[in-house]
């Protein structure tokens, strides 16, 4: 499946997404879904949700899922290429922006900007969750697990690891 065309499409795709990913890695998931599933057909809905689940089962920043998408397209080369495309340019931007920190962060304009942008970021994160749930919803029990996990994470302060573990056990026992 991996050839040079796919690899460069992968790098350009994630480069573009990274520069728009205000609000962090998860907020950009709908756009990654478009790239991976709709535009290039590299994977189907369920595979997309499962790769995300694999990333969640491992520790690390949420953006690591990009490495798994890269792996899916072009193996280990794809993993590093996609991660570098996603994190490299934005890191350089952050490095350059750093010196403005003290001057900007406390300013009123910055707070106004942040207050206007944060609801969009949160909305995009919620949309990502809905897309993932849709991808995983192959059986009624899968939908029930998604709903239950939503309620648990929303209403309780316990570690989200419990939900992942419960989902794994329920899936292994009942979804076969």
């Amino acid at each position: 499946m991996s050839d040079d065309g796919d690899l460069s499409a992968l790098v350009w795709g994630f480069l573009g997404i990274s520069l728009l990913s205000v609000g962090g890695g998860v907020a950009a998931l709908p756009e990654m879904h478009r790239l991976m599933v709709e535009t290039h057909g590299w994977m189907d809905e369920l595979a997309f949700s499962k790769r995300y689940a694999l990333a969640q089962a491992a520790p690390g920043p949420n953006v690591m899922v990009v490495g798994l998408f890269g792996w899916h397209v072009a193996g280990i080369t794809g993993m590093f290429a996609a991660m570098l495309a996603m994190c490299g340019p934005t890191s350089i931007l952050a490095y350059g922006f750093c010196r403005l920190r003290g001057r900007l962060s406390g300013a009123l304009g910055m707070r106004v900007f942040e207050r206007g942008m944060v609801p969009i970021a949160v909305g995009l994160i919620a949309a990502s969750g809905l897309l993932l749930a849709q991808g995983a919803a192959e059986a009624p029990l899968a939908v029930a697990i998604s709903v239950g996990s939503t309620l648990f994470v929303w209403r309780s302060k316990r570690s989200p690891l419990w939900v992942l573990a419960a989902g794994a056990v329920l899936g292994a026992v009942f979804l076969r």
């Binding site: 205000v22 709908p30 689940a53 520790p59 900007f113 207050r115 995009l124 899936g171």
Partner: protein, 182 residues
């Protein structure tokens, strides 16, 4: 008083954040930097993270670049960032190999499907919780819901959503601050 971490300490601190961060590193990053190692005060940390959030790219990754630079310049940025990513990357390489080998086995596929469904709910739950803690005014809640509708139901491209909603959100937020300070 903030403690200035040495270079190795900076790397190890971030390696710890990366390896502990199940389900995202945000909470662990704050815990290690502010509470455990006292590199930054709560306020300073919130400022750096806030800037990391509004810049494109992963929030905690951006914060690691800025915090690393603050203590040790370019070397600090590289050490903090590589510390954050290196452990999880190694684990993901191993997991990916295992997944390719066993992922489609009859016993493993339903297991992963259960985790996938739970992980999806985790993302939705986190978004609801964040929205609740921020307590935005009603018109900004609406902007957030428009973002949900645009991305999840209408399937609009991200650039379009940001270009349309960002000016709207900022304008509404600006109007709020005018109302508050007459």
């Amino acid at each position: 008083m903030d403690k200035v971490p040495g270079r190795i300490e900076l790397f190890l601190g971030y390696a710890k954040i990366g390896l502990l961060g199940f389900g995202g590193v945000g909470p662990w990053s704050r815990h290690v930097i502010v509470e455990e190692r006292k590199w930054l005060s709560e306020r300073d940390y919130a400022e750096v993270l806030g800037l990391g959030q509004i810049l494109p790219g992963p929030n905690v990754g951006n914060a690691s670049v800025m915090i690393g630079r603050r203590f040790h310049g370019l070397a600090g940025s590289l050490l903090a960032t590589s510390g954050l990513y290196i452990g999880p990357l190694c684990i993901l390489v191993i997991l990916s190999i295992l997944y390719e080998l066993y992922g489609t086995r009859p016993g493993v596929a339903p297991f992963m499907q259960g985790v996938a469904a739970a992980a999806a709910g985790m993302v939705i739950g986190t978004a609801i919780k964040m929205g609740q803690n921020l307590r935005p005014p009603p018109e900004l809640i609406l902007v957030g819901l428009l973002a949900v509708a645009g991305a999840a139901f209408l399937r609009l491209p991200l650039p379009l959503i940001v270009v349309v909603l960002a000016p709207l959100g900022i304008w509404l937020s600006l109007r709020r601050s005018w109302q508050r300070a007459p």
